[in-house]
Structure formats: structure tokens, C-alpha cells
């Protein structure tokens, strides 16, 4: 447990608080000292830990794959190239299976999403106290902060900002391609002429608002469900890890039991993190495919 004097509730709250940079109540800019301050910063604040880990992991992915890509040969592949090619082939097959438009950007985007989200989710498997404790020590001895006020969430996908951010990007791309392929008229038609349509002009006019409402809900539901699915799964998993970690403060017997629980949950979680990364990727491909479908194909 982080700090012997915390109650269980404080421990959990501490773990669920991001390191937030924004305007403090006294008007200066800095890291929030508690959840209250972070909340009061409003929209003009940044979760430093989320940005740090997501950029670090994304950078690691790009660095690793770029390294392999630069030396990629069509001869006998070495170990790492073998692995990367396996991933690339897997993504390529998935994209070819679900995406029927012609866009060279979809496959690289799917690869980026899959590996990036997987790496981000993978941070969940690192014991919940390790990195926050390191951050607390660094905060205390390097920046002279109160270690109890150093908040550090290491799994960006347990921060809705991260998952919403990615889903928003996917949403923007799908809107962009929808407009590009179907034109404004086609896109508006898609929103207003389905699912109810009639050959009678007056009846059709009556259907337009109903269709628009239904289709708008469906449209907005896509990025929302995309991000909330990932966020919800990862947040719940993280929460269970935190609850298990609480047991280590409950004596030897409970601690050992907690150790086994953590092992079991971590092994199960390997499946979840991979599955969530895969689902995020597949749904992205499907949304792009929908953006490329013209109305006649409905």
C-alpha cells in the first residue's frame, strides 16, 4: 500500500487520480495537489501521466517497427522481423477481410491501433504500486513534492481522455471519408432517408426527422461505444488489481492469498488486453468500411 497511513478508500482514490497539470486556485500553473484541485482546473488541463505513457509506448512501437522496416529484406527474416511480419500479415488479413474500399491508410492505422492499444493495456499487468511509487520517490527527491500528492496512473486506457481521444480521431476520419466518398448530399441522405423511406413525397418528409434522430444516435454511438468499451474494460481490470493490492496490507495469510489472486487475474487479463486491442482495431476497420459504403449498398 502506498503510505502506511492511508485508509483503503484513500488508497483507491489515490490510484485513480491522474497527474494533472493546469491552473491552480492561486492563479499559478502547476500540478494539482489533490482530486479537488484537478477537478477545478476544468478543461484547460493535461493529464501528464496519460500523455507521457501513451506517447512513450507509441514511440516505442514506432521505433521498434521502424527499425525492422528499415532493414526489412525479402530473404530469410531474422527473429524480430519474423515477429513484426507476423503481426503485419495478421493486420493485413484482417483489413482485407473487413475493409472493401481502396485506402492505403486503413491498414497502417489498424496496425498502429492494435499495437499501441495493446502496449497501453499491457501497462495494466505491471503491479499497481511499482510505477506510482517510483514516481512518488522521483517527485519527492527530484522535484521536492509531497510524495502523498504525487498522483500517477500508468495505464492510459483507464483514462477516458485517452480512449475518447482515439475514438474521436477514428470518428473524424470516418466522417472525413464519408464526405469524401459520398459527398455532402450523399451523407445527409444517409442520415435522413434511412431506415424509413416511402415513395410518397409527403410521407417521406414526415420520416426525415425520425430518420435523422435515429441515424444521429447511431452515428454518435459509434465513437462512444468504441471508447467506452476499452475504457470500461481496462478501468474494471485496473480496479480489481487495486483491490487485490489492498490485501497485501492485511497480514501474511491474506497477502499470500492476494498474491495468487493477482497472478490469476493477471493471466486472465492477458486475454482481455489483447482482446480489447483487437476489438478496437476491428471496429475501427468496420467504421472505415461503413464510411466507404455508398447508400445503394445498404
Amino acid at each position: 500500500m502506498a503510505g502506511g497511513t492511508q485508509t483503503a478508500s484513500e488508497y483507491i482514490k489515490h490510484h485513480l487520480q491522474n497527474m494533472t497539470y493546469g491552473q491552480l486556485p492561486d492563479g499559478s500553473w502547476g500540478l494539482a495537489h489533490n482530486a479537488q484541485e484537478a477537478k477545478e482546473m476544468g478543461f484547460m488541463a493535461v493529464h501528464v501521466d496519460t500523455m507521457f505513457w501513451s506517447i512513450l509506448l507509441g514511440g516505442f512501437f514506432l521505433w521498434l517497427f521502424r527499425k525492422v522496416a528499415k532493414n526489412a529484406t525479402s530473404g530469410t527474416p531474422s527473429g524480430l522481423q519474423n515477429f513484426v511480419e507476423w503481426v503485419v500479415e495478421f493486420i493485413d488479413t484482417s483489413v482485407k477481410g473487413s475493409f472493401h474500399g481502396r485506402n492505403a491508410m486503413v491498414a497502417p492505422m489498424a496496425l498502429t491501433i492494435f499495437i499501441w492499444v495493446f502496449l497501453i493495456n499491457f501497462m495494466d499487468l505491471i503491479p499497481v504500486d511499482w510505477l506510482p511509487q517510483v514516481a512518488a520517490l522521483v517527485g519527492q527527491y527530484v522535484f521536492g513534492m509531497d510524495p502523498h500528492h504525487v498522483y500517477f496512473k500508468v495505464v492510459p486506457s483507464t483514462d477516458p481522455n485517452a480512449t475518447f481521444g482515439m475514438a474521436l480521431a477514428v470518428f473524424m476520419l470516418s466522417l472525413y471519408f464519408s464526405f469524401k466518398i459520398k459527398g455532402v448530399a450523399g451523407f445527409v441522405g444517409e442520415l435522413t432517408l434511412h431506415p424509413f423511406s416511402s415513395s410518397n413525397k409527403i410521407v417521406q418528409l414526415l420520416f426525415v426527422p425520425i430518420n435523422l434522430m435515429l441515424e444521429l444516435v447511431a452515428l454518435i454511438a459509434k465513437p462512444l461505444s468504441l471508447s467506452l468499451r476499452l475504457y470500461g474494460n481496462m478501468f474494471a481490470g485496473e480496479m480489481i488489481f487495486i483491490l487485490i493490492a489492498l490485501m497485501y496490507g492485511g497480514g501474511w495469510a491474506l497477502g499470500i492469498f492476494g498474491g495468487f489472486l493477482q497472478l490469476g487475474w493477471a493471466i486472465f487479463h492477458i486475454l482481455i488486453i489483447t482482446l480489447q486491442a483487437y476489438i478496437f482495431m476491428v471496429l475501427t476497420i468496420v467504421y472505415m468500411d461503413l464510411a466507404y459504403q455508398t447508400a445503394e449498398e445498404h
Binding site: 494533472t20 484537478a38 500523455m51 507509441g58 517497427f65 526489412a72 525479402s74 503485419v88 493485413d92 481522455n161
Partner: protein, 156 residues
């Protein structure tokens, strides 16, 4: 759990990562894969071609072998025929030569006989002359004469 600028930051980061992947990571990898696919299919095709060519070569070689065997047996046949011809010729030559030798030998024998006859004749003449001389020396004695003549006759 607050929604804030992190959202925008994540979106921008996402676009940057996707762009980088699209520009620098994906193409070389997918090209390498496509190229390897091509190399492998070419290799397989070459192997297939090689197999086919080998089968053709085998067929060709058996044909050449069969022809060579035929030629060889023909040559052997001709050689045997020629050999028997040579033997036949040699036999004929030998026969002719033998006959020729026989004829010359006969001629020589005839010559020898004639020469012997000549000598004999000369000796008879000499003996006759010698007999006459003795007869003349002892005068004439009928008994003796007869005896001498008988002797002469036996000597002839």
C-alpha cells in the same frame, strides 16, 4: 476522470502515430512481404520447370542410348562380316600360293630327272666305250663276249 485537454492531445498524438506508421513503417514491411511472396512463387515455378526439363532430358537420353546401342550392334555385325571375308580371302590366297609352289616344284623335279637321264646316258656311253676297249684287248672270245655283253646289259 475529468475530461480535459488530454483528449485533444491524444487525438493529435493518434494522428501523428498513424501518419508515421503510414509513411515509414507499413510500406517497407508490406513490400518486403510481397517481394518474398514473389520470390517464393518464382522459386516454386523454377523448380517445377526444372523437374519438367529433367524428365525431358531423361527421355532424350534414353532415346540417344537406344540409338547408340543400335549403331554399336550394327558396327559389330559389319566388323564380323568383314573379318570372315578377310579370312576367306586369306584362305584363297594360301591355296593359290600352294598351287603355284607345287607347279614350280614339279618343274624343278622334271629338270632334275632330265639332268639325271643325261648323266646316265653319258655314263652308258662311257661304259660302252670301256667294254669295247676290254673286248678289243682280249681278242675275241665268244663266251667272254657274251659274258661281257650280259654284264653290260645288267648295268644298263
Amino acid at each position: 476522470m475529468n475530461i480535459n485537454l488530454t483528449l485533444i492531445g491524444q487525438t493529435i498524438t493518434f494522428f501523428l502515430f498513424v501518419w508515421f506508421c503510414y509513411k515509414f513503417v507499413w510500406p517497407p514491411l508490406i513490400n518486403a512481404l510481397a517481394e518474398r511472396k514473389k520470390i517464393i512463387s518464382e522459386g516454386l515455378a523454377a523448380a517445377e520447370r526444372g523437374k519438367h526439363e529433367q524428365a525431358l532430358a531423361e527421355k532424350r537420353s534414353t532415346k540417344v542410348l537406344r540409338e547408340a546401342k543400335g549403331q554399336a550392334s550394327e558396327i559389330i555385325g559389319r566388323a564380323e562380316k568383314r573379318a570372315s571375308e578377310i579370312v576367306e580371302e586369306a584362305k584363297n590366297d594360301a591355296k593359290l600360293e600352294g598351287e603355284r609352289l607345287l607347279i614350280t616344284a614339279r618343274g624343278e623335279i622334271d629338270q632334275e630327272v632330265n639332268r639325271a637321264k643325261d648323266q646316265l646316258r653319258q655314263q652308258v656311253v662311257a661304259l660302252a666305250v670301256a667294254g669295247a676297249e676290254q673286248i678289243l684287248k682280249r681278242e675275241i672270245d665268244a663266251e667272254v663276249h657274251n659274258q661281257v655283253i650280259d654284264e653290260l646289259v645288267t648295268q644298263l
